[in-house]
Structures are given as structure tokens and as C-alpha cells.
Amino acid sequence: MDWIFLAELTVNGALTGLLYSLVAIGLVLIYKSSAVPNLAQGALTMLGAYVVLAFSHNLGWPLWIAIPLAVVIMFFVGIGIERVALRRLAGRPIVMILMMTMGLDIFLRGTTLAIWGGSSRSLNLGVSYDPFFVGDMLLSRIHIVGAAVAIAIFIASVLFFRTRMGIRLRAISDDYLASWSVGISVEGGVALSWGLASIVAVATGVIWGEVQGVDQSLSLLLLKGLTVAVLGGLDSILGAIVAGIILGIMESVGSFYLDAIVGGGSRDLIVAAVLILTVMIRPHGLFGRHDIERI
């Protein structure tokens, strides 16, 4: 048994897992304020990457301008989604809103495909691909950068939900009618959560765009993100981080051993198994509140 190799698998798995956490945090931000799992978070991530790409490659602007600009634009895209697509659904059954986010996912994928085509492009963040050793372990620099971004966004989110505005958003997801009754702007709160989730989508899109190139497959990150969010508990930011690390390690170490037996492709099986088992055994996840079916 090669312990260094196992350690390397574990650490790289945890780092990749933290990149999944980025997607999950976007989901949790919206769930925590409106109790809706946003099935378009993957597509938003992809859109975020394309917007950065449009500024940096199509217009040739430097990344330090392109990324902040994309953040601002995507924030308003998120706000706009609430205003145009979701506001009229306020108070409707949760399935309606869920279907709307799914429609949004399809719409965003179709639109980006029409504009940017299907070929993969690279972002060129400038993160070096030279081998990076910690002790004897070989690690990926971009994954380390991504994990740091995930931790930073985690801390910012935790702090945000303790502010007055953050408390209001949590109140909305608890009971929107009671929120209305004390004058909380439910629509404004939900819009803000979409705006914030769209900002997180830019960060996620930039990191993942660097890892695997910018193309339609970025939208599939939804599946990993959703699995992590469900495992962590849909309304728990901490859960998104912890579950991301757990899923990442299971995927990396597990697939190494399983692939040898089944001959490859076991990563997706592991993700599917985690999702299904969580829903069956512990539907509120590791850290989620118990009555997640309430709206």
C-alpha cells in the first residue's frame, strides 16, 4: 500500500470537493432565503464563465476588469430572474417554482449554446500548471486556489446570514406570509438571494472554467452541487463545505478502488449513491434543519 499515494488521492479529492462546495453554496444561498432548490445553478455557473470569457477574450480586457464586471452583471441577472420569472409565482406551490428553475436551466443552456457555440474555450487565469509538491504529494495549484475561494465565500456567507438583511432572508424562507405581515420585502429578499447566488456562480464558473475549459458541460456541475447541498442539508452553508469535502474524498478514493473492479466510470456511481442514500436515510442532510419539506 502506497500511503503517499492514498494521501494524495485524499487531499486532491478534498480540494475538488471544495470546488463542488462552491456550486452547493450557490444553491444554499437561494434555498436559505426562499426554500427553493435552484435547478439552474449549474447553468448560471456556466453563464458566469461565459460572461468573463466575453470580456477577456472577445473584448480582450484584462481579467482584473473582466471578472469584477461579470460579478456586477451577473448580480443583476440574478435580480432580473426573480423579477421576470419568479415574482409572479410567489405563494404558489413549490413544484411550480422548481419547474421554473428547470425551465431557466434549459433556457440558459440554449442561449449560451446559440451565442458561444459548443466548442470548449480556455480562460487562461494564469495559474501555473507546474507540479506543486507538498511533502511528497503532488497537488494541483488551480484546485488549491479554488478551495481557498470556496473557504472565503463560505466565511462571507456565514457572516452575511448574521447581518440584519441575512436574518430577514432566513425569516422569509421560514414563513413568507409571516414575513409579509411584519413588512419584510419578500420579493426584494428573494431577488437579493438570486443576485448573491449569481455572484457565487461567477466565482464558480471562473474556477471550473479554468479546470475543465468553458463549455456546456459546466452546467452539469449542478448534479455535483445538488448532491453536496443535499448531503450537507439544503439550508446549511457549513454543510455545503463539509459535504463537499466528504463527497470529493469519496469520489477520488472510492473511484480509484472501484474503477479497478468495474473498469472505469465509477465516479458518477458514487455521486448517485450518495444522493440516493442521503435522501433515503437522512433527508435533511448532515446539518440541515428537519422540516425541509415546508415552504
Partner: protein
């Protein structure tokens, strides 16, 4: 019977023959007129399904969340028509509705419940002093201010729902069946606090209750609503003496068993 000599200017709230429709077909309120004097306490009594909650929702604007609509008549707060104002702006004007079923924010602490309801423009210091005031009114909440609100007792949740509403700085507080499911001593405690705030702060109160005994002890006037219509309006004193009220709401009917009363109530609807 109706003693409506109160000048309109003295009313903080007046409803002028309003009708409310749900889903554009179901007429739940059929011409209700009521008034709440400035600084006064008024009760709205009636049995299940009479239209009490619907009336409050029409006033607070929460009807919109249930696809309900005021289809006729007008509602004035402080003399201003409020029909087209959003629920949020009505709260800002000073109307706050404590909805039925003490719906506190269960996953927030009582302290956070109060924070959530504080107006956006309220300063940090003012929020802190307002919260102190609430804990002074409701000492039971002070002891539990950092626990999860979903685990508070029914009485504590009702107190929290009222304190949360008071954080919005209302001039008119509307309470929908605050006594529901609470032990009599708790009802007395809560009503006592409401009465105290009414006296000290001049807060106007519109109290919806099925528990007429408790309600008529603290209000000056009461309206009785049946089938979406006001069928009686009088001072609390006269209402307490009224034989019909005694029979159906105070449990004072003698020599009649429950079945007789139900039967009787179907025949007689107080519709003269």
C-alpha cells in the same frame, strides 16, 4: 343598537361596506363596515368561517397572498384610502397584523425574530432599546431569547408573535385569535399586556376572537360577524348582557344542550 356616533376623524381605521372575493368567485365578506377609534380597543367576534380572518387580511393586504381581493367598498387608515397600497407599505404606515396560528420564524431565535421585524430604517441603537422594551413586556421571552423559536411553548410563541409585530412600530395592532389553544391564565396574561400597551402607548387594537368572554373584558366595543356580515355592534357591556351572545359565545345558555343551540343557531342568524 348600533352606536356609531363616533366622528370619522376619531377613527384610525374604518371599513365601509367592503366585500371580499377569493379566487374571483367566492364571496367571503358581504358588506362589512367597522370602525376602530384612535387609541381604542375593539373586538371582532364570530364563529368558525364567519369571515373574521378575511376581514383582517383585507386590512393588512395579506389577501393578495391568497388570491383574494377587496371587490367593493373602501378601507381607510388615518383617513387615507389604502386599497392600492402594498402590504409592506401598510406596515410602514403603522398597520400590523398578527396572523392566525402564532407563526413565529421557527428556525430563528426570539431575538432574531424581533430583529427580522424591525423596520429597515431603524437604527441599531433603537432596535436594541425596542427589544429591551419587548423583553420588559414579555419577561418569559427574555429568558428564552437565544433558543430556537420553534421549540417555545404555545404561549411563548404567541407572545413572540405579538412582540415581533410591535417591533414594526404599529399604531394599529390587529390580533387574530391570540387566545387559541392557550390556558386561561396565559390568555389573561397576554390580554393584560395588550391592555397595558394600549393604555401606555395609545396603541389602537382590533382583536379577533372566538373567546368572547376574554375579549369583551378588555375591549370597549365589539362587532359580531356571521356569514360575512356584521350582525351586531355594541359596547362590550351591552354585548356581555345580550342573551344571544351569552348563549352562543359565553356558554351562558341555560336549559339547552349543545345540539339545541346548534339547531337554533341555524335558524336564527341575527339578521333582522
Amino acid at each position: 343598537m348600533a352606536q356609531n356616533e363616533t366622528n370619522l376623524d376619531d377613527l384610525i381605521l374604518s371599513l365601509n361596506s367592503i366585500e371580499v372575493m377569493y379566487d374571483s368567485v367566492l364571496l367571503a365578506i358581504k358588506g362589512v363596515s367597522i370602525g376602530v377609534p384612535r387609541g381604542g380597543m375593539v373586538a371582532l367576534l364570530g364563529s368558525n368561517g364567519a369571515g373574521k380572518s378575511t376581514t383582517l387580511k383585507a386590512i393588512s393586504g395579506l389577501l393578495k397572498a391568497e388570491r383574494g381581493k377587496v371587490s367593493r367598498g373602501d378601507i381607510r387608515f388615518d383617513g387615507k384610502l389604502i386599497g392600492d397600497i402594498s402590504p409592506q407599505d401598510r406596515v410602514a404606515m403603522g398597520i400590523c397584523h398578527v396572523i392566525e396560528g402564532r407563526r413565529v420564524f421557527e428556525h430563528l431565535t426570539p431575538d432574531e425574530n424581533l430583529d427580522a421585524a424591525a423596520p429597515q430604517s431603524m437604527s441599531r441603537r433603537k432596535i436594541a432599546s425596542e427589544k429591551e422594551r419587548m423583553y420588559e413586556y414579555f419577561p418569559r421571552l427574555a429568558d428564552r431569547k437565544s433558543s430556537q423559536s420553534g421549540y417555545l411553548s404555545g404561549g411563548e410563541q404567541q407572545m413572540l408573535a405579538i412582540a415581533r409585530a410591535l417591533m414594526t412600530q404599529p399604531r394599529l395592532l390587529m390580533l387574530d385569535e391570540p387566545s387559541l389553544g392557550l390556558a386561561p391564565f396565559l390568555v389573561a396574561e397576554i390580554f393584560g399586556i395588550i391592555q397595558r400597551i394600549n393604555k401606555e402607548q395609545g396603541l389602537s387594537v382590533l382583536l379577533v376572537e372566538q373567546n368572547a368572554i376574554a375579549a369583551l373584558e378588555i375591549v370597549s366595543h365589539g362587532y359580531l360577524i356571521e356569514n360575512g356580515r356584521v350582525v351586531m355592534h355594541d359596547t362590550a357591556e351591552s354585548l356581555k348582557k345580550n342573551s344571544d351572545i351569552q348563549e352562543f359565545y359565553l356558554g351562558g345558555g341555560e336549559g339547552k344542550n349543545f345540539q339545541d343551540i346548534k339547531h337554533y343557531s341555524r335558524r336564527k342568524r341575527w339578521l333582522s
